[in-house]
Symmetry: C2
Subunit: 384 residues, 2 copies
Amino acid sequence: MTTTNDYSPGLEGVISNATTISYLDLDKEEIVIRGYDLIELAQKLSYLETAYLVMHGKEPTQQEAAALRKTLSDQATLPPEVYAMLKSLPKQTHPMDALRTGISMLAGYEDPAILNDHHPEPNFAKGLKIMAKAPVIACNAYRANQGQPSIPADPKLGFTENILWMINGKRPDKESVDMLDMVLTCYIEHELANSTFTARIIASSLCDIYGAITGAVASLKGPLHGGANEAAAQMLVDILQKGGAAKAEQYITDIRAAHGRIMGFGHRVYMRKYDPRAFLLKDYLPRLLHKKPEGEEMYAIYRKVEEVMFRETKLYPNADYPIGFILYLLDVPIPLFTPLFLCARIPGLIAHVEEQHKENRLFRPRVIYLGPRELHPEKAGAGR
Amino acid sequence: MTTTNDYSPGLEGVISNATTISYLDLDKEEIVIRGYDLIELAQKLSYLETAYLVMHGKEPTQQEAAALRKTLSDQATLPPEVYAMLKSLPKQTHPMDALRTGISMLAGYEDPAILNDHHPEPNFAKGLKIMAKAPVIACNAYRANQGQPSIPADPKLGFTENILWMINGKRPDKESVDMLDMVLTCYIEHELANSTFTARIIASSLCDIYGAITGAVASLKGPLHGGANEAAAQMLVDILQKGGAAKAEQYITDIRAAHGRIMGFGHRVYMRKYDPRAFLLKDYLPRLLHKKPEGEEMYAIYRKVEEVMFRETKLYPNADYPIGFILYLLDVPIPLFTPLFLCARIPGLIAHVEEQHKENRLFRPRVIYLGPRELHPEKAGAGR
């Protein structure tokens, strides 16, 4: 058995690095982003304006915001070989794995001298390409899974609008675009989440930003991280199919009795406080229920699960709980929830990779060794 | 500016986790692998025998070693879509990036239920598939880069022999196979290297082993990590082309004067002691020089650079320095040096992912925030 006297499992409470990007202030219950309250940003700025702030540490002027929008629009294309790769994947491939493969593949399209230049300007230029192309990969990976033809980004549509467009080829209504935009902003940056930590560690070997973000996609797929929004929505659907709100309490009780995990509740850092993002977003739920015939019933399930979970565990919802439900109401397919979380987080990842490369120190901690010592081989001799 | 009073940059000296896999014992100058001295293992066991030990914590019987060899041979195939992806990559794609993309892509070929089952048996089964297929991807990514046709693994050849076979389609001599086998063993596992740390962090979100190893490939590409063997060999070639051993001292002096970095010397953990792997391998160099016409001259360069570096910096070579030269003498193309390091490390990565999944705690450290506070947005208004 391991002892925990000499280290903190999961590096809980350990300081990994200094940053000027973001901070979870538990005392003030504030997600600080470059000095601003994320909740205020989500209400007052668009996702792209917030993205500029996250990456550059200042609000964009109108010209700067317009330039960012144009760069992302210009770069929202994929080489035909990436489309071909997506179409060649087995149909069971999770879009998150397809997104990881696609971002990894894109590294080869950079001139190697630029790929390995970790100064701010090339890092931001490469990062914006990844940010522009990631939703195109994600949505079209899903479409390829479904045997549907690709839908490229439409240069006439904005960044957020294009995401909904590429999912199903329908022009989205303003209410849906505004709601998704706020969701993307809520996901944009969150201090040293597991995926952000992954990106910084990879960047610290002086690997390039494509590698760092590829690793972050891998991390974010995990159900203890980004995979939670998918799991939370899937649970609501399961309860709906098994009898609706009247069955919600039994459903939760059964899973907990079997030591199963209910996703979308609690958070390592917030512990027993309300995630400010979940607190903001829950108020938007009632006005979206009309978008699906089952909206009202699922909202009843949603509230019942929250009530039971709080009564039984004293855990509040985290951002993934309302976001899973919102994306469902916006008709986003569940397998795209985690990929869209990743897409939304890219400005934060770019900022962290840039900060890591600017003042780098290779991440290389040590271990406590609890295995045997002083053994010597007896040659088994089965060769190589 | 950051202060370093409250944290250790790069987590230097911080304990990240307990392990029974390996430990760098600086007092005894020993790389402990499951209780054994790695240097003794490299001299007495084959790479595959050591791989079994790393993964399972015990030496294999002859039957177990033979079974491992058979599994790896059976699994050393690639889906045609992966070959097609490799051939579709831009020619400038580094084989390390191609290997990362290929391993990521393979996740889709697992049944999702098995992909997301993190118990030991499915984890080892998936890990061995990655171990078997990684050299096939790496060698054939390089061949695709060169416009050469693919060479699949030959089921009649052993694991190590197949690597040399797939590079150039020539039957390798026993001396080369034995030497490469020892190099692979030296690279097999090394406590919490940046790539191993990356794999554990990704695994801790309960992402699957394909994601964890994909992230490790990204990390290992960095020149502060696996990229060093490529850089070290490239330096020797550069010096040869610029006048040979007589110019070596000036070459090193010039780079150091320009604050450039000489790769292959020093190591975060060993600091000012000799890396035991480099100490072992340097004695094998003289007997390999006959393999290349320029062997003797490069060995003179090799020794001169080591002498100058020790005189000027008191740094000893790390494993990447002799290994870079050995792989060059074995006619392995330089762009494959880092991919082969990754392939060699896979048993260690499998063991760490398995250990992380067995007793998991999500990695999620904190930061020191040094940015501004109490800012409020002025709506720029360029929309989304």
